[in-house]
Symmetry: C2
Subunit: 217 residues, 2 copies
DNA sequence: TATATATGTTAGGCTAATCTAACAAATAAA
DNA sequence: TTTATTTGTTAGATTAGCCTAACATATATA
């Protein structure tokens, strides 16, 4: 059996390794992601290695095993399905879904998640534009870049956000943005990367941190 | 803050004290209900007393305080709302809902439960016929007796079950029973209380244990 | 290459929730 | 009313998940 806490470690590892592309993670990196101390991560890694959920050697990099990856992905699937449920059926706003889904993702019942998937009509993306893995762990990978990479004068369409935190999402709404909205990049400061964008005719100045967290096509 | 485990103790206490009518519970009784050892209950009682959630003195009876009762009832409300959701929206059968609701009842989000209540159209009874407390902790009390109390020759209507376990509920379905079905008591053995009932023209012989767990009006 | 900074590990401790085994009190039965 | 049984309590131990402080290794920089 995999505990609640172990599930969170596997989910975090899945996200880190998947996003970095290298398939690896470090102790400190994981600790930051989970807001625990590196020493705690170290303890847990021993347990996860014992259970054959991660590959790692002292002072080496952390890698998920096949089984570890499978479980991590399962949690991601559950998280995103619950977010979709909250957003579409219970009328939560998109900045509220994440926190509750953090709890719901740990409910143990394969039947529940399959029924929920069906009830939602097998959605492929969650309210933040992230792909929802299907039962077999496959997910629709979208070709996407960050808003930071768009050239001055070009337009693009927002398809997802990188940061799911409430403050960021509220900020996004504030500049008039939501999923599938068209964005035009009007100008960019050379010095500090402040970018002026236009959404629905409304102009806003946003930081690099902001544009890094918006995915577009 | 009240922990997951503390919530379970309060819920169990609420059920025991509410059902017994005396508003009291004993250490062993509670231990049996939670399938832990009496020593464990004893430890927890000290914590709950510290938090002013129970009233109890050494070797005395356990009683919930106002606040303890409120929290226990809240868990019951959540449990029954989730059962209703699983049954009505996700097509779970009534013998499957209990186990999953045991997990879902601990999700912390007042907003979630109010939205869910609305989504379900403010149900008053769960799939087992148990009343669902409303936001203010009020519940529809039904005047009901057990099937054991019905006289030979008389008919009644099933309105709830006392035991929510899967094996019992499957047995109930097996004799052709479900909520709001009419039952006729054909005969009763004096010696061992074996009762012959008729449901939809189908006759079945059932034990005292069975008739004790069926509520009727 | 030597040193400073990053990163990772170990040892030892804490708390919540559980247990067993031994004991104490209350209640029921002889 | 004495004894047996049931019920409740205490002490001491265990496990998971976390911490701090001290130490070790790796990597980057001068």
């Amino acid at each position: 059996m995999v505990s609640y806490t172990e599930e969170n470690y596997l989910k975090a590892l899945f996200k880190i390794t998947f996003e970095s592309g290298t398939n690896e993670a470090g102790t400190n990196e994981l600790a930051t992601h989970l807001t625990v101390k590196p020493a705690t991560v170290n303890d847990m890694l021993k347990k996860l290695k014992e259970k054959a959920l991660v590959d790692y050697e002292k002072y080496g990099k952390i890698r998920l095993t096949g089984n570890g990856k499978k479980i991590g992905l399962e949690i991601v699937r559950k998280h995103r399905l619950w977010e979709t449920f909250l957003y579409e059926k219970l009328e939560f706003s998109w900045d509220e879904v994440h926190e509750v889904a953090e709890q719901l993702e740990h409910i143990q019942s394969p039947k529940l998640i399959e029924k929920l998937d069906k009830f939602l009509n097998f959605p492929e993306f969650d309210p933040h534009g992230d792909p929802i893995p299907n039962t077999d762990g496959e997910l629709k990978v979208q070709f996407k870049k960050t808003l930071s990479e768009i050239e001055i004068g070009d337009s693009c369409k927002m398809v997802a956000v990188k940061d799911n935190s409430s403050p960021f999402l509220q900020y996004v709404v504030n500049v008039g943005l939501s999923l599938h909205k068209k964005i035009k990049v009007l100008s960019k400061q050379e010095y500090d990367a402040i970018t002026v964008i236009e959404v629905n005719g409304k102009k806003s100045s946003v930081s690099q941190k902001f544009t890094d967290n918006i995915f577009v096509v």
